[in-house]
Symmetry: C2
Subunit: 392 residues, 2 copies
């Protein structure tokens, strides 16, 4: 150690062994006498030695870093997803490297393919980001490194995939609304699609719609364009809430017409000017005498927006309408009303994803051939909170 940080050579010298033995001892490789190992560890401790990872990575070609690509940090869903993935990665002695794409497909492709880190540094990737789906040549972009997709929803997976319980969860959510007495249920979060088209969907939103609509039809309740309201983010969740509120007020009045905003809202000036969202809910809808009394939202963010939008028109949750979301965002336990939701098990997701990654990493390091892509679906819990409470 001339001056700067101690190197492996310094540790070896201090321990009276060769650099190679020191390296093996430090890394816990088998085939080092216990007494030797202790000597080396003591020397390293004494010198406050820290391995130089850049050198290690350069030589070995492995980094133990897992690349996690998500759309953003600041949303109830992603912040929780990232927390679970990062925690599990760390628990396994690997290092999580989290990158956000901000929903830009270009940024996502860059993160995966052209970013120099991705090219050579990462041992594997876990991806839930717009633009990185199976329509693009992921394997090529990724140079064939281990890759786990989250919620890719392919029928026959081309990559290791961990899916959400989209259809079952959505079905359970709608059934819950029905059990709570709802008979006219709106679906927020997806564009309408007829049932026959839903038979062959391979995406998250479609599967949730399939589950939700199936539950409606099984119960003899209506499923058509008039009950679906699209909403891809919270703002549109609010718009969907407005649309549903107006539909309710029109239905209550027994006729089509202008519904006055009955909100107590003094600061939010948008209530009177929002446009209709979704494919329907506006104007004189045919044979819908009964007002909406339940809403299934395909994510919690949209659910918060819907509750917000309903409130703008003075419609109370769960008093007038019950609302259930999907995801299990942490904040749903603290809002007013607290939000009923399909809480997906993100810790389990993280475990599955890391199992898949580490399996492939090990396969490769042993020169074994790649095994076929696997798929797992995580569990969920229906969390019943105030937003679907029966009594009022």
């Amino acid at each position: 150690m001339t001056d700067g940080k101690p190197t492996l050579r310094d540790v070896a010298a201090a321990a009276g062994v060769s650099p190679m033995t020191a390296s093996n001892a430090l890394r816990g490789k088998p085939g080092v006498k216990e007494s030797t190992r202790l000597k080396v560890l003591a020397a390293a401790e004494r010198l406050d030695y820290r391995i130089n990872l850049t050198a290690s990575m350069l030589k070995s070609g492995r980094s133990n870093i897992i690349h996690i690509i998500v759309n953003e940090f600041d949303s109830p869903f992603y912040s929780k997803l990232v927390q679970s993935l990062a925690t599990e990665t760390t628990a396994r002695g690997l290092t999580p490297f989290v990158e956000q794409t901000r929903y830009s497909p270009d940024a996502a492709k860059h993160a995966l393919a052209t970013n120099p880190f991705s090219g050579q540094l990462f041992d594997g990737e876990i991806i839930h980001a717009a633009g990185l789906n199976t329509d693009v040549p992921l394997a090529a972009m990724n140079h064939g490194r281990p890759l786990v997709l989250i919620d890719a929803c392919e029928d026959t997976p081309s990559f290791d995939t961990v899916n959400f319980p989209n259809e079952e969860g959505a079905r359970a959510a709608v059934q819950h609304l029905i059990e709570r007495g709802c008979r006219h249920i709106a679906i927020v979060g997806t564009d309408y699609a007829p049932r026959n088209e839903l038979a062959r969907v391979e995406d998250s939103a479609g599967l949730r719609l399939r589950g939700a609509s199936g539950a409606l039809l099984d119960a003899g309740l209506p499923y058509d364009e008039s009950v679906t309201f699209s909403a891809y983010n919270s703002t549109r969740g609010t718009e969907a809430g407005h649309a549903i509120a107006r539909a309710i007020l029109e239905q209550r009045a027994g006729r089509a017409g202008s519904a006055a905003a009955g909100s107590a809202d003094g600061t939010n000036g948008t209530a009177g000017t929002v446009e209709m969202a979704g494919t329907s809910g506006s104007g004189p809808t045919a044979a819908t005498a009964m007002a909406f009394d339940g809403v299934f939202c395909s994510n919690d963010y949209a659910a918060f927006g819907v509750i917000r939008g309903l409130a703008d028109y003075g419609i109370a949750v769960p008093g007038d309408v019950k609302v259930i979301g999907f995801d299990g965002a942490t904040s749903g336990a603290y809002t007013t009303p607290t939000l009923s939701t399909i809480q997906v098990d993100l810790d389990q997701l993280a475990q599955f994803a890391l199992d898949m990654i580490t399996r492939r990493v090990e396969q490769r390091s042993q020169g074994a051939a790649d095994t076929p892509a696997t798929r797992a679906t995580i569990g969920y819990t229906l969390v019943s909170r105030e937003s679907t409470t029966a009594e009022r």
Copy 2:
């Protein structure tokens, strides 16, 4: 390029130049003829060359990676902070490496000091995490690399620091409540401290308490133990809400006694059994005839909890009590009621922090001596939303 990825040597060969010239051309160093540079870039493009960062980092000792250490990902405050920091870091051509400590001081110290990445890989660190304050030997742990603390609140900064507008923001928040007609204001988020002790606080919570209490006293309103309720996270925010609710009900009844929960809550069974939080609010408080009509929370998370806790007792916001938070969490715009808050400018924070880091990095690369620690305080906007609306 024998077989695997193309190396710089391959690019140089393809372009008919030396590796060094290729390196300089690729990195945009001055002193390369334009025609040569173009040849090199074309060759790199053609070969789909990607620099090997491990080799680059090993040789140069620089990584362009900024280490961002925070307590967690999944909270309204941190998810937004991380998003701002990561976005700004990327915008400057640097790479953000975000790590969570989950509030463990040991994990935080490990992240900063013993994690091998920290030892040699990162060009600088931006820190907002429990356990990494100026009580510990940060400079030594960090081996003297550039370091920016967020909200360290030292009177004379020992490290580059970006502070929140703690005192001014809290003062503005309480003044806002007063302007909205509140005359009996509770403070949630900090343990009570007498005014004379607050003169010399050097921490975020103390400064917010100083600002809030100052505003109360300036307006001739009471500031004593009976108006403070501690709350360090959302759960305790809820407890504080319960305590405030009970105080209100007692005060309304004009005497001490059991306050019945008047909640419409059918699922949350805790209302009747929670313990009192904070230092007061329970039992027969002396001369407090007037019920609380306003609450200042020193963070939004606590504010959500307080609103939640008040609702458990049937107390409405803003109808019965107005509530304002601090931070400007994204979700405050979508809750019901929407949350008034002191919205701090996290994008500005990110800019300041990165200015400070890059300045030091450049200083070092030029062998200049370190300049004294600097400090900046970010701006805020008082966002007035439903939770402090005057009309009902």
